[in-house]
Protein backbone atom coordinates (compact mmCIF):
# COMPACT_ATOMS: atom_id res chain seq x y z
CA UNK A 1 0.00 0.00 0.00
CA UNK A 2 2.74 2.39 1.06
CA UNK A 3 4.92 1.58 -1.91
CA UNK A 4 1.95 1.91 -4.26
CA UNK A 5 1.29 5.41 -2.96
CA UNK A 6 4.94 6.34 -3.39
CA UNK A 7 4.94 4.95 -6.91
CA UNK A 8 1.68 6.70 -7.81
CA UNK A 9 2.94 10.15 -6.76
CA UNK A 10 6.32 9.54 -8.33
CA UNK A 11 4.72 8.57 -11.65
CA UNK A 12 2.32 11.52 -11.50
CA UNK A 13 5.25 13.92 -11.12
CA UNK A 14 7.18 12.25 -13.90
CA UNK A 15 4.19 12.37 -16.22
CA UNK A 16 3.60 16.06 -15.69
CA UNK A 17 7.31 16.73 -16.08
CA UNK A 18 7.45 14.67 -19.25
CA UNK A 19 4.70 16.82 -20.77
CA UNK A 20 6.40 20.15 -20.10
CA UNK A 21 10.06 19.18 -19.50
CA UNK A 22 10.19 22.50 -17.70
CA UNK A 23 12.22 21.54 -14.62
CA UNK A 24 14.68 19.35 -16.46
CA UNK A 25 15.42 21.89 -19.19
CA UNK A 26 15.89 24.84 -16.87
CA UNK A 27 18.12 22.84 -14.51
CA UNK A 28 20.29 21.51 -17.32
CA UNK A 29 20.75 24.84 -19.09
CA UNK A 30 21.56 26.48 -15.77
CA UNK A 31 24.12 23.83 -14.76
CA UNK A 32 25.86 24.09 -18.12
CA UNK A 33 25.81 27.87 -17.84
CA UNK A 34 27.49 27.81 -14.44
CA UNK A 35 30.25 25.52 -15.74
CA UNK A 36 30.82 27.85 -18.72
CA UNK A 37 30.88 31.00 -16.57
CA UNK A 38 33.36 29.39 -14.17
CA UNK A 39 35.48 28.44 -17.13
CA UNK A 40 35.78 32.14 -18.04
CA UNK A 41 36.42 33.13 -14.45
CA UNK A 42 39.28 30.64 -14.00
CA UNK A 43 41.14 31.32 -17.25
CA UNK A 44 43.38 29.02 -19.25
CA UNK A 45 45.78 27.73 -16.58
CA UNK A 46 45.33 23.98 -17.04
CA UNK A 47 46.84 23.07 -13.66
CA UNK A 48 44.51 25.48 -11.87
CA UNK A 49 41.55 24.12 -13.82
CA UNK A 50 42.34 20.58 -12.69
CA UNK A 51 42.43 21.71 -9.09
CA UNK A 52 39.16 23.61 -9.06
CA UNK A 53 37.23 21.32 -11.44
CA UNK A 54 35.50 19.17 -8.75
CA UNK A 55 34.39 22.31 -6.93
CA UNK A 56 33.02 23.83 -10.12
CA UNK A 57 31.12 20.65 -10.96
CA UNK A 58 29.45 20.50 -7.54
CA UNK A 59 28.67 24.21 -7.39
CA UNK A 60 27.00 23.95 -10.80
CA UNK A 61 24.98 20.92 -9.67
CA UNK A 62 24.05 22.56 -6.35
CA UNK A 63 22.82 25.78 -7.96
CA UNK A 64 20.87 23.79 -10.52
CA UNK A 65 19.37 21.78 -7.64
CA UNK A 66 18.12 24.94 -5.91
CA UNK A 67 16.56 26.07 -9.17
CA UNK A 68 14.91 22.72 -9.86
CA UNK A 69 13.60 22.29 -6.31
CA UNK A 70 12.02 25.71 -6.49
CA UNK A 71 10.30 24.88 -9.75
CA UNK A 72 9.14 21.44 -8.57
CA UNK A 73 7.69 22.85 -5.35
CA UNK A 74 6.12 25.77 -7.22
CA UNK A 75 4.22 23.43 -9.53
CA UNK A 76 2.75 21.70 -6.50
CA UNK A 77 1.70 25.08 -5.11
CA UNK A 78 -0.19 26.18 -8.22
CA UNK A 79 -3.92 25.49 -7.94
CA UNK A 80 -3.18 24.14 -4.46
CA UNK A 81 -2.18 20.71 -5.78
CA UNK A 82 -0.40 19.81 -2.56
CA UNK A 83 -3.59 20.03 -0.48
CA UNK A 84 -5.36 17.85 -3.00
CA UNK A 85 -2.66 15.21 -2.86
CA UNK A 86 -2.54 15.33 0.94
CA UNK A 87 -6.29 14.74 1.17
CA UNK A 88 -5.95 11.41 -0.59
CA UNK A 89 -3.09 10.14 1.52
CA UNK A 90 -3.02 7.80 4.46
CA UNK A 91 0.65 8.03 5.29
CA UNK A 92 2.16 11.36 4.41
CA UNK A 93 5.74 10.16 4.45
CA UNK A 94 4.90 8.43 1.14
CA UNK A 95 4.63 11.92 -0.34
CA UNK A 96 8.04 12.88 1.01
CA UNK A 97 9.71 9.75 -0.31
CA UNK A 98 8.13 10.14 -3.74
CA UNK A 99 9.13 13.81 -3.95
CA UNK A 100 12.69 13.04 -2.83
CA UNK A 101 12.96 10.23 -5.37
CA UNK A 102 11.65 12.54 -8.10
CA UNK A 103 14.09 15.31 -7.25
CA UNK A 104 16.93 12.82 -7.08
CA UNK A 105 16.04 11.50 -10.51
CA UNK A 106 16.17 15.00 -12.03
CA UNK A 107 19.52 15.58 -10.34
CA UNK A 108 20.99 12.34 -11.65
CA UNK A 109 19.78 13.09 -15.17
CA UNK A 110 21.28 16.57 -15.04
CA UNK A 111 24.56 15.12 -13.80
CA UNK A 112 24.53 12.55 -16.56
CA UNK A 113 24.13 15.28 -19.15
CA UNK A 114 26.59 17.73 -17.54
CA UNK A 115 29.43 15.26 -16.93
CA UNK A 116 30.44 14.69 -20.59
CA UNK A 117 30.52 18.45 -21.27
CA UNK A 118 32.43 19.00 -18.05
CA UNK A 119 34.86 16.25 -18.99
CA UNK A 120 35.53 17.81 -22.41
CA UNK A 121 35.76 21.44 -21.31
CA UNK A 122 37.94 20.78 -18.27
CA UNK A 123 39.97 18.05 -20.04
CA UNK A 124 39.37 15.51 -17.31
CA UNK A 125 38.89 11.86 -18.17
CA UNK A 126 35.71 10.99 -16.31
CA UNK A 127 35.08 7.64 -18.01
CA UNK A 128 38.02 5.89 -16.36
CA UNK A 129 36.70 6.79 -12.88
CA UNK A 130 33.00 6.43 -13.59
CA UNK A 131 32.30 3.45 -11.30
CA UNK A 132 33.61 4.94 -8.02
CA UNK A 133 32.40 8.39 -9.06
CA UNK A 134 28.85 7.14 -9.43
CA UNK A 135 28.91 5.98 -5.79
CA UNK A 136 29.89 9.50 -4.69
CA UNK A 137 27.30 11.05 -6.99
CA UNK A 138 24.52 8.78 -5.72
CA UNK A 139 25.30 9.41 -2.04
CA UNK A 140 25.62 13.14 -2.65
CA UNK A 141 22.46 13.46 -4.72
CA UNK A 142 20.48 11.47 -2.16
CA UNK A 143 21.45 13.86 0.65
CA UNK A 144 20.86 16.99 -1.42
CA UNK A 145 17.45 15.65 -2.45
CA UNK A 146 16.41 14.87 1.14
CA UNK A 147 17.41 18.26 2.53
CA UNK A 148 16.27 20.07 -0.60
CA UNK A 149 12.84 18.46 -0.74
CA UNK A 150 12.20 19.16 2.94
CA UNK A 151 13.20 22.81 2.69
CA UNK A 152 11.48 23.39 -0.64
CA UNK A 153 8.17 22.39 0.97
CA UNK A 154 8.89 24.60 3.99
CA UNK A 155 9.83 27.65 1.96
CA UNK A 156 6.89 27.15 -0.39
CA UNK A 157 4.68 28.61 2.31
CA UNK A 158 6.86 31.59 3.19
CA UNK A 159 6.62 35.02 1.67
CA UNK A 160 10.16 35.28 0.29
CA UNK A 161 10.39 31.71 -0.97
CA UNK A 162 12.81 32.32 -3.85
CA UNK A 163 15.52 33.60 -1.55
CA UNK A 164 14.73 31.47 1.52
CA UNK A 165 15.37 28.10 -0.13
CA UNK A 166 19.08 28.66 -0.92
CA UNK A 167 19.56 30.43 2.42
CA UNK A 168 18.38 27.33 4.29
CA UNK A 169 19.56 24.64 1.90
CA UNK A 170 23.17 25.72 1.30
CA UNK A 171 24.47 26.11 4.89
CA UNK A 172 22.74 22.97 6.18
CA UNK A 173 24.24 20.90 3.38
CA UNK A 174 27.80 22.21 3.91
CA UNK A 175 29.07 18.79 5.19
CA UNK A 176 27.70 17.06 2.11
CA UNK A 177 29.21 19.67 -0.21
CA UNK A 178 32.64 19.30 1.41
CA UNK A 179 32.53 15.51 1.27
CA UNK A 180 31.27 15.42 -2.33
CA UNK A 181 33.87 17.88 -3.62
CA UNK A 182 36.84 16.24 -1.93
CA UNK A 183 35.73 12.70 -2.70
CA UNK A 184 35.41 13.71 -6.36
CA UNK A 185 38.78 15.48 -6.28
CA UNK A 186 40.45 12.34 -4.91
CA UNK A 187 38.84 10.10 -7.52
CA UNK A 188 39.84 12.39 -10.39
CA UNK A 189 43.53 12.20 -9.46
CA UNK A 190 43.29 8.42 -9.64
CA UNK A 191 42.58 7.28 -6.09
CA UNK A 192 40.15 4.47 -5.41
CA UNK A 193 37.06 4.08 -3.23
CA UNK A 194 39.16 2.68 -0.38
CA UNK A 195 41.03 6.01 -0.15
CA UNK A 196 37.86 8.01 0.38
CA UNK A 197 35.99 5.82 2.89
CA UNK A 198 35.99 8.74 5.36
CA UNK A 199 34.06 10.93 2.95
CA UNK A 200 31.72 8.09 2.00
CA UNK A 201 30.98 7.43 5.67
CA UNK A 202 30.33 11.12 6.22
CA UNK A 203 27.92 11.22 3.27
CA UNK A 204 26.22 8.03 4.40
CA UNK A 205 25.75 9.34 7.94
CA UNK A 206 24.43 12.66 6.64
CA UNK A 207 21.94 10.89 4.35
CA UNK A 208 20.67 8.49 7.00
CA UNK A 209 20.42 11.05 9.83
CA UNK A 210 18.49 13.56 7.75
CA UNK A 211 16.29 10.97 6.08
CA UNK A 212 15.17 9.79 9.53
CA UNK A 213 14.64 13.34 10.79
CA UNK A 214 12.82 14.36 7.62
CA UNK A 215 10.44 11.42 7.94
CA UNK A 216 9.86 12.26 11.61
CA UNK A 217 9.05 15.92 11.05
CA UNK A 218 7.41 15.80 7.63
CA UNK A 219 3.91 15.39 9.06
CA UNK A 220 4.25 18.58 11.06
CA UNK A 221 5.30 20.50 7.94
CA UNK A 222 2.36 19.56 5.74
CA UNK A 223 -0.40 19.49 8.34
CA UNK A 224 -3.13 22.12 7.90
Amino acid sequence: MFMRQVAAIFMKDLKSEWRTREIFTSMLVFAVLVVVVFNFAIGADSELIRQVAPGVLWVALLFATVLGLQRAAQMEHEDDCLSGVLLTMGDRSALFIAKTAGNMLYLLLITLCTLPLFSIWFRINILSHIAPLSVVLLLGMLGFSIIGTLFSIITLNTRTREIMLPLLFLPISVPLTIASVYATANLIVGKGLSDITDYLTLMGVFDIVFLVIALLVFDTIVEE
Binding site: L150, I154, T155, N157, T158, R159, T160, M164, L167, L168, L170, P171, I172, V174, P175, L176, I178, A179, Y182, D198, Y199, L202, V205, F206, V209, F210, I213, V217, T220, I221, E223
Partner: protein, 232 residues
Protein backbone atom coordinates in the same frame (compact mmCIF):
# COMPACT_ATOMS: atom_id res chain seq x y z
CA UNK B 1 2.66 33.35 34.77
CA UNK B 2 4.75 36.51 34.73
CA UNK B 3 7.15 36.98 37.65
CA UNK B 4 6.56 39.93 39.99
CA UNK B 5 8.38 43.17 39.21
CA UNK B 6 10.66 43.11 42.24
CA UNK B 7 12.00 39.71 41.20
CA UNK B 8 12.99 41.10 37.79
CA UNK B 9 14.79 44.02 39.40
CA UNK B 10 16.75 41.73 41.70
CA UNK B 11 17.64 39.48 38.78
CA UNK B 12 18.84 42.44 36.71
CA UNK B 13 20.88 43.77 39.64
CA UNK B 14 22.53 40.37 40.19
CA UNK B 15 23.40 40.11 36.49
CA UNK B 16 24.83 43.63 36.57
CA UNK B 17 26.90 42.87 39.67
CA UNK B 18 28.44 39.70 38.29
CA UNK B 19 29.23 41.47 35.00
CA UNK B 20 31.09 44.23 36.86
CA UNK B 21 32.90 41.56 38.89
CA UNK B 22 33.90 39.79 35.65
CA UNK B 23 35.21 43.07 34.18
CA UNK B 24 37.27 43.64 37.33
CA UNK B 25 38.60 40.10 37.05
CA UNK B 26 39.59 40.43 33.39
CA UNK B 27 41.11 43.92 33.51
CA UNK B 28 42.46 44.23 37.06
CA UNK B 29 42.81 40.94 38.86
CA UNK B 30 44.18 38.48 36.31
CA UNK B 31 47.91 38.77 35.38
CA UNK B 32 48.87 39.46 31.77
CA UNK B 33 49.78 36.31 29.85
CA UNK B 34 53.52 36.24 29.17
CA UNK B 35 53.66 35.07 25.55
CA UNK B 36 50.60 36.69 24.03
CA UNK B 37 50.53 39.87 26.08
CA UNK B 38 47.55 42.07 26.78
CA UNK B 39 45.46 40.78 23.84
CA UNK B 40 45.08 37.42 25.54
CA UNK B 41 42.53 39.03 27.88
CA UNK B 42 40.01 38.86 25.03
CA UNK B 43 40.04 35.09 25.61
CA UNK B 44 37.70 35.51 28.60
CA UNK B 45 35.04 37.21 26.47
CA UNK B 46 35.66 35.17 23.34
CA UNK B 47 35.33 31.72 24.90
CA UNK B 48 32.45 32.79 27.15
CA UNK B 49 30.57 34.13 24.11
CA UNK B 50 31.18 30.87 22.27
CA UNK B 51 29.90 28.84 25.21
CA UNK B 52 26.81 31.04 25.54
CA UNK B 53 26.20 30.75 21.79
CA UNK B 54 26.15 26.95 21.99
CA UNK B 55 23.94 27.13 25.05
CA UNK B 56 21.51 29.39 23.17
CA UNK B 57 21.38 27.11 20.12
CA UNK B 58 20.87 24.12 22.39
CA UNK B 59 17.92 25.95 23.99
CA UNK B 60 16.53 26.55 20.47
CA UNK B 61 16.88 22.81 19.78
CA UNK B 62 15.13 21.70 22.98
CA UNK B 63 12.40 24.35 22.73
CA UNK B 64 11.79 23.36 19.08
CA UNK B 65 11.29 19.71 20.01
CA UNK B 66 8.98 20.67 22.86
CA UNK B 67 7.03 23.00 20.58
CA UNK B 68 6.39 20.26 18.03
CA UNK B 69 5.39 17.95 20.84
CA UNK B 70 3.23 20.21 23.03
CA UNK B 71 2.20 22.90 20.50
CA UNK B 72 2.32 25.71 23.06
CA UNK B 73 3.17 29.16 21.66
CA UNK B 74 5.36 29.65 24.72
CA UNK B 75 7.97 27.13 23.48
CA UNK B 76 8.05 28.93 20.16
CA UNK B 77 8.70 32.22 21.97
CA UNK B 78 11.59 30.60 23.81
CA UNK B 79 13.10 29.14 20.63
CA UNK B 80 12.81 32.48 18.82
CA UNK B 81 14.32 34.45 21.70
CA UNK B 82 17.18 31.99 22.21
CA UNK B 83 17.97 32.04 18.47
CA UNK B 84 18.09 35.84 18.44
CA UNK B 85 20.41 35.98 21.45
CA UNK B 86 22.47 33.09 20.07
CA UNK B 87 23.07 35.02 16.85
CA UNK B 88 24.18 38.04 18.87
CA UNK B 89 26.72 35.95 20.81
CA UNK B 90 27.78 34.17 17.61
CA UNK B 91 28.46 37.58 16.06
CA UNK B 92 30.51 38.49 19.14
CA UNK B 93 32.57 35.31 18.71
CA UNK B 94 33.18 36.15 15.06
CA UNK B 95 34.26 39.70 15.99
CA UNK B 96 36.44 38.93 19.02
CA UNK B 97 38.03 35.95 17.23
CA UNK B 98 39.76 37.95 14.46
CA UNK B 99 40.79 40.69 16.94
CA UNK B 100 42.59 38.01 18.94
CA UNK B 101 43.87 36.17 15.85
CA UNK B 102 45.47 39.18 14.11
CA UNK B 103 48.39 39.72 16.56
CA UNK B 104 48.75 36.05 17.56
CA UNK B 105 48.29 34.07 14.33
CA UNK B 106 49.31 36.95 12.09
CA UNK B 107 46.05 36.83 10.16
CA UNK B 108 42.49 38.05 10.66
CA UNK B 109 40.98 34.83 9.52
CA UNK B 110 42.02 31.23 9.07
CA UNK B 111 39.73 28.48 7.84
CA UNK B 112 40.34 26.55 11.02
CA UNK B 113 37.60 23.98 11.81
CA UNK B 114 36.23 25.84 14.82
CA UNK B 115 36.12 29.17 13.00
CA UNK B 116 34.50 27.62 9.96
CA UNK B 117 31.91 25.87 12.11
CA UNK B 118 31.05 29.14 13.86
CA UNK B 119 30.65 30.92 10.53
CA UNK B 120 28.37 28.21 9.13
CA UNK B 121 26.34 28.26 12.36
CA UNK B 122 25.94 32.02 12.02
CA UNK B 123 24.62 31.54 8.49
CA UNK B 124 22.18 28.82 9.58
CA UNK B 125 20.72 30.79 12.48
CA UNK B 126 20.52 34.06 10.54
CA UNK B 127 18.48 32.10 8.00
CA UNK B 128 16.41 30.78 10.92
CA UNK B 129 15.65 34.36 12.01
CA UNK B 130 14.79 35.33 8.43
CA UNK B 131 12.43 32.38 8.17
CA UNK B 132 10.47 33.69 11.14
CA UNK B 133 10.20 37.37 10.26
CA UNK B 134 6.70 38.64 10.94
CA UNK B 135 3.93 38.00 13.42
CA UNK B 136 3.39 34.74 15.30
CA UNK B 137 1.71 32.23 13.13
CA UNK B 138 1.27 28.62 14.00
CA UNK B 139 2.52 27.26 10.69
CA UNK B 140 5.64 29.39 10.65
CA UNK B 141 6.40 28.28 14.20
CA UNK B 142 6.31 24.66 13.04
CA UNK B 143 8.69 25.39 10.14
CA UNK B 144 11.07 27.25 12.43
CA UNK B 145 11.00 24.36 14.91
CA UNK B 146 11.99 21.92 12.15
CA UNK B 147 14.91 24.16 11.19
CA UNK B 148 15.87 24.58 14.85
CA UNK B 149 16.12 20.81 15.21
CA UNK B 150 17.92 20.17 11.90
CA UNK B 151 20.34 23.05 12.47
CA UNK B 152 21.50 21.75 15.81
CA UNK B 153 21.80 18.13 14.71
CA UNK B 154 23.90 19.39 11.82
CA UNK B 155 26.49 20.87 14.23
CA UNK B 156 28.55 17.69 14.88
CA UNK B 157 28.31 16.68 11.21
CA UNK B 158 29.55 20.11 10.08
CA UNK B 159 32.33 19.92 12.66
CA UNK B 160 33.33 16.48 11.39
CA UNK B 161 33.31 17.60 7.76
CA UNK B 162 35.32 20.80 8.26
CA UNK B 163 37.89 18.83 10.24
CA UNK B 164 38.26 16.41 7.33
CA UNK B 165 38.40 19.33 4.95
CA UNK B 166 41.18 21.10 6.85
CA UNK B 167 43.43 18.06 6.74
CA UNK B 168 43.61 18.64 2.97
CA UNK B 169 45.45 21.93 3.52
CA UNK B 170 48.27 22.44 6.00
CA UNK B 171 47.49 25.01 8.64
CA UNK B 172 48.89 28.37 7.50
CA UNK B 173 49.93 29.50 10.97
CA UNK B 174 50.82 27.96 14.27
CA UNK B 175 47.66 27.94 16.32
CA UNK B 176 48.10 28.28 20.01
CA UNK B 177 45.39 26.43 21.79
CA UNK B 178 44.10 28.16 24.91
CA UNK B 179 42.83 25.04 26.63
CA UNK B 180 41.35 25.49 30.08
CA UNK B 181 43.28 22.57 31.52
CA UNK B 182 46.58 24.38 31.07
CA UNK B 183 45.33 27.58 32.70
CA UNK B 184 46.85 28.87 35.93
CA UNK B 185 44.32 29.08 38.74
CA UNK B 186 43.94 32.88 38.59
CA UNK B 187 43.10 32.70 34.90
CA UNK B 188 40.75 29.78 35.40
CA UNK B 189 38.99 31.71 38.18
CA UNK B 190 38.60 34.80 35.98
CA UNK B 191 37.38 32.67 33.12
CA UNK B 192 34.76 30.96 35.27
CA UNK B 193 33.51 34.32 36.60
CA UNK B 194 33.31 35.63 33.05
CA UNK B 195 31.48 32.51 31.94
CA UNK B 196 29.02 32.89 34.81
CA UNK B 197 28.47 36.54 33.86
CA UNK B 198 27.69 35.58 30.26
CA UNK B 199 25.32 32.81 31.27
CA UNK B 200 23.57 35.18 33.67
CA UNK B 201 23.32 37.79 30.93
CA UNK B 202 21.92 35.19 28.57
CA UNK B 203 19.28 34.02 31.05
CA UNK B 204 18.35 37.63 31.83
CA UNK B 205 18.04 38.54 28.14
CA UNK B 206 15.99 35.46 27.33
CA UNK B 207 13.57 36.19 30.17
CA UNK B 208 13.05 39.72 28.93
CA UNK B 209 12.79 38.65 25.30
CA UNK B 210 10.28 35.91 26.03
CA UNK B 211 8.10 38.24 28.05
CA UNK B 212 8.23 40.71 25.14
CA UNK B 213 7.22 37.96 22.72
CA UNK B 214 4.34 37.01 24.99
CA UNK B 215 3.12 40.60 25.12
CA UNK B 216 3.34 40.88 21.35
CA UNK B 217 1.43 37.65 20.95
CA UNK B 218 -1.25 38.87 23.34
CA UNK B 219 -1.50 42.22 21.58
CA UNK B 220 -1.99 40.52 18.22
CA UNK B 221 -4.68 38.30 19.68
CA UNK B 222 -6.51 41.29 21.18
CA UNK B 223 -6.25 43.20 17.92
CA UNK B 224 -7.65 40.21 16.09
CA UNK B 225 -10.57 39.93 18.53
CA UNK B 226 -11.20 43.65 18.19
CA UNK B 227 -11.32 43.40 14.40
CA UNK B 228 -13.83 40.60 14.61
CA UNK B 229 -16.05 42.42 17.09
CA UNK B 230 -15.95 45.58 14.93
CA UNK B 231 -16.98 43.61 11.87
CA UNK B 232 -20.10 42.33 13.57
Amino acid sequence: MRAPRIYNVVYAAATYAIMIFALWGVFVYVPTEQVQGIVQRIFYFHVSSAFTMFLAFFVVFVASILYLWKRLAWWDHIAASAAEIGVVFCTLVLITGPIWARPIWGTWWSWDPTLTLTLVLWLIYVAYLMLRVGAYDERRARFAAVLGIIGFIDVPIIRWSVEKWRTIHPKPVVIQEGGTTGLPSSMLFTFLICLAAFVFLFSYLIRERVSLAQSQHELERLRHDLDISLLR
